[in-house]
């Protein structure tokens, strides 16, 4: 038996991955959901990061070193995200972490990053808690919008609708709770006549929304504010449409959590409830974009081999952009130096210049909002028009 033990130990040692070659690439770990309903957003986000890395390496990398991106499936589960992140750090010896999608994954991985002193840039999780004062640490940064920005932007839009009875439906976890709270607080401030008549809290991952939709319709709301996202929105809206929920509120419905993104409208086809409001991080058809945006969209279309490229790639792209710029500015891959370089850093992204502010490591990342409608140019609905809402005045 001791022979067996020794053999096992030796086998373990032999099976360990070979050390990096002399070229010493900069390793970036990317935990991202690649399976399940969240993959609708997670998969393109990973691809956007990959595109940036390929383009960067073609230009010689950064500081003369190539960048190696290691993507791992976090399954939209906080526990799994923590596990793969620790493996990336301990086994693959990554220098940085850029990733996570859900607002459960983000804060959990942030803890790992803090302890390991690894710079962690979150390109998607929105919950305020990620950068709240009690959770903030030198190594966490966010290039996504946060729930305060999203909730308030939504409130300003909904306040213009001729409605006073509003219902909300959100997943019962940090993102759903925080964005709903931000929305409710702000709309009550700017339109005091508003009444929140119903709030539903399905669990993240719910497949049967019928009871929630029924319960909500019973309160006879005039508008619905939903933050059901990703593949879950596809399921929810199919069921809601069948129950006549959109008709009942006369399509006074806003789908936060990027229900207006081309991925969602494309995947739903004729089942999409055209006429609702939604938001998205990007839209290939955005006509207010800069030449840089048009160029990015063309490159993305070629990289993904898609005629109508995804709107989620941009977040992976921007996340890596900030990392690369910070490494360049710091002149090193040392975590502390790069973390310091990220503070106040402004980067020219395809969506325009974004800055990570020092106060809470949050970038002023706004989103595109718009009411969906059919357009003769495309076989699926688009936000018409898609308007970029600058979040700066919502960030306190």
């Amino acid at each position: 038996m001791i022979v067996r033990f020794a053999t096992l130990l030796i086998a373990l040692a032999l099976a360990a991955p070979a050390p990096a070659l002399a070229q010493k690439a900069i390793k970036v770990g990317m935990p991202m959901p690649l399976s399940g309903p969240a993959a609708l957003f997670g998969d393109p986000a990973a691809k956007g990061a990959q595109m940036f890395v390929e383009e960067l390496n073609a230009k010689g990398g950064v500081l003369g070193r190539k960048v190696e991106l290691l993507v791992r499936d976090s399954k939209a589960d906080a526990n799994e995200a923590v596990r793969v992140s620790r493996e990336l750090i301990l086994k693959e010896n990554v220098d940085f972490l850029v990733g996570t999608l859900t607002s459960a994954e983000g804060p959990a991985v942030s803890v790992v990053a803090k302890e390991s002193k690894i710079v962690f840039i979150a390109p998607i999780p929105k919950t305020d808690q990620l950068t709240a004062a009690d959770k903030l640490h030198p190594y966490v940064f966010r290039v996504a919008a946060n729930t305060t920005m999203e909730g308030r932007s939504a409130a300003e839009i909904v306040a213009k609708w001729p409605v006073t009875r509003i219902a909300t439906i959100a997943f019962d976890y940090a993102y759903g709770q925080d964005v709903t709270k931000a929305f409710v607080e702000h709309i009550k401030k700017i339109k005091p006549s508003v009444e929140i008549v119903d709030q539903q809290w399905p669990k993240l991952g719910e497949q049967d929304y019928n009871p929630f939709i029924n319960a909500q319709m019973a309160k006879k709301p005039e508008a619905i504010v939903s933050s059901i996202w990703g593949g879950f929105f596809v399921t929810y809206s199919k069921q809601a449409k069948a129950l006549g929920a959109f008709d009942a509120v006369k399509y006074n419905f806003i789908g936060l959590g990027e229900a207006g993104s081309p991925e969602t409208t494309k995947s739903m086809g004729a089942d999409y409830p055209v006429g609702i409001w939604g938001n998205a991080y990007d839209a290939f058809y955005w006509d207010q974009g800069s030449p840089a945006h048009r160029d990015y969209t063309a490159r993305l279309s070629k990289f993904l081999k898609e005629e109508y490229p995804s709107s989620w790639a941009i977040q992976g792209y921007i996340g890596m952009q900030f990392l690369a710029e910070a490494i360049k500015k710091a002149g090193s891959t040392d975590s502390d130096k790069v973390a310091k370089a990220l503070l106040g850093l402004t980067v020219d992204t395809p969506m325009g210049p974004l800055t990570i502010r020092e106060k809470d490591h949050q970038a002023n990342r706004g989103q595109l909002y718009g009411k969906t409608a059919m357009d003769p140019k495309y076989p699926f609905p688009i936000m018409k028009p898609a308007t970029y809402v600058d979040p700066t005045r919502f960030m306190d």
């Binding site: 033990f5 096992l8 526990n79 086994k91 804060p107 959990a108 997943f171 976890y173």
Partner: protein
């Protein structure tokens, strides 16, 4: 001669040597193995020794993890107290749940253990204020090792390790202690009675044994030690999450126990080592680890129902016969 070697001590030394190999990752994997070894051994008290198949053992693992996590994070309780509390609280839940479970047999017993485990999961999953809900509780503090580091300044060999390595040593010592206790329990008259009950419960009743009381006692014991494993795991994992109590976790530990061999005390621990190591190896080549695991399980069930320990035992017996005969 093979049997006389002090396997327990050798395993302990081997475990303590791992950080010296220099890779943080090996320590990480070894820490995982050590904790799961305790979890699996606690389950084997029920399955292997008493013949009680529980589908809900992860409930106590989860309860232990949340107890330690809550105490250390919210109440600032020192680690040792929180660790012991994990076992006590899990044991109490096992007492309450077990009271109802042992009144049932076979499939009903299994279903009720599953039902209680899912209840625990549902509460952890939805009680946002206390357990953090779906977010779980990330950021569980490590035990305070400051005194050890200061001691290390004076005493050689103790200083200079990372926190995660100190925690690993602590796990090895605590799990070693727990396993030693369980070994004594299993070898005691109480333990032998469990085996009698597994072989033939009616006969045990017939000779005057209160079967139900023994079953409840082992249920509580198994639950308490699973809770201790959970308490360690919450810290190791740097966060406690509701799926610690989900039924698929119960099935993972059951497979480990089967793989290693339910008939030997060290079986589950061996199963933990092999399964976790295999997982690490396979995952670097393919994402289809569940497929591989399923195939391994099928092979085990058809060819090696005694698990690795059973197969090893058979090989050893054949060797002994050959040596004796030759």
């Amino acid at each position: 001669m093979i049997r006389r070697l002090p396997w327990g001590w050798l395993a302990l030394v081997a475990a303590l040597v791992v950080p010296a190999l220099g890779s943080r990752f090996y320590t990480f994997v070894a820490n995982d193995v050590v904790i799961w070894a305790l979890f699996a051994t606690s389950l084997n008290l029920l399955v292997g020794y008493t013949g009680l198949v529980s589908f809900g053992h992860a409930a106590y693992f989860g309860i232990g993890a949340y107890t330690t996590g809550l105490l250390m994070k919210q109440a600032g309780t020192p680690f040792l107290a929180a660790f012991v509390a994990a076992g006590v609280v899990a044991g109490l839940f096992a007492l309450v749940f077990g009271f109802f479970c042992v009144r049932l047999t076979r499939i009903y017993f299994a279903m009720l253990t599953l039902a209680f485990a899912q209840i625990v999961w549902a509460v952890c999953f939805k009680w946002n204020e206390v357990t953090g809900g779906e977010q779980g509780m990330p950021d569980i503090p490590y035990p305070d090792f400051g005194w050890l580091e200061r001691l290390g300044g004076a005493v050689p060999l103790i200083g200079g390790y990372r926190t995660s390595e100190y925690f690993y040593f602590l796990c090895v010592l605590l799990v070693g202690l727990c396993l030693w206790v369980l070994r004594r329990v299993v070898g005691s008259p109480f333990g032998r009675m469990l085996t009698t009950i597994r072989e033939n419960p009616e006969r045990a009743e017939f000779i005057g044994v209160n079967v139900r009381r023994y079953e409840l006692a082992v249920f509580v014991l198994a639950g308490a030690f699973a809770g201790l494993a959970g308490g360690l795991f919450g810290i190791f994992n740097r966060g406690v999450f509701p799926d610690f109590a989900y039924w698929t976790k119960s099935s993972e530990v059951l497979i480990m126990t089967l793989l290693g061999g339910m008939g030997a005390f060290a079986g589950p621990a061996i199963g933990a080592l092999v399964l976790i190591w295999l997982n690490q190896q396979i995952v670097s080549y393919t994402e289809y680890w569940p497929l591989i695991l399923g195939i391994i399980l099928v092979v085990l069930l058809f060819v090696f129902p005694g698990g690795l320990a059973g197969a090893a035992g058979a090989v050893r017996r054949r060797l002994a016969r050959r040596l004796a005969g030759a």
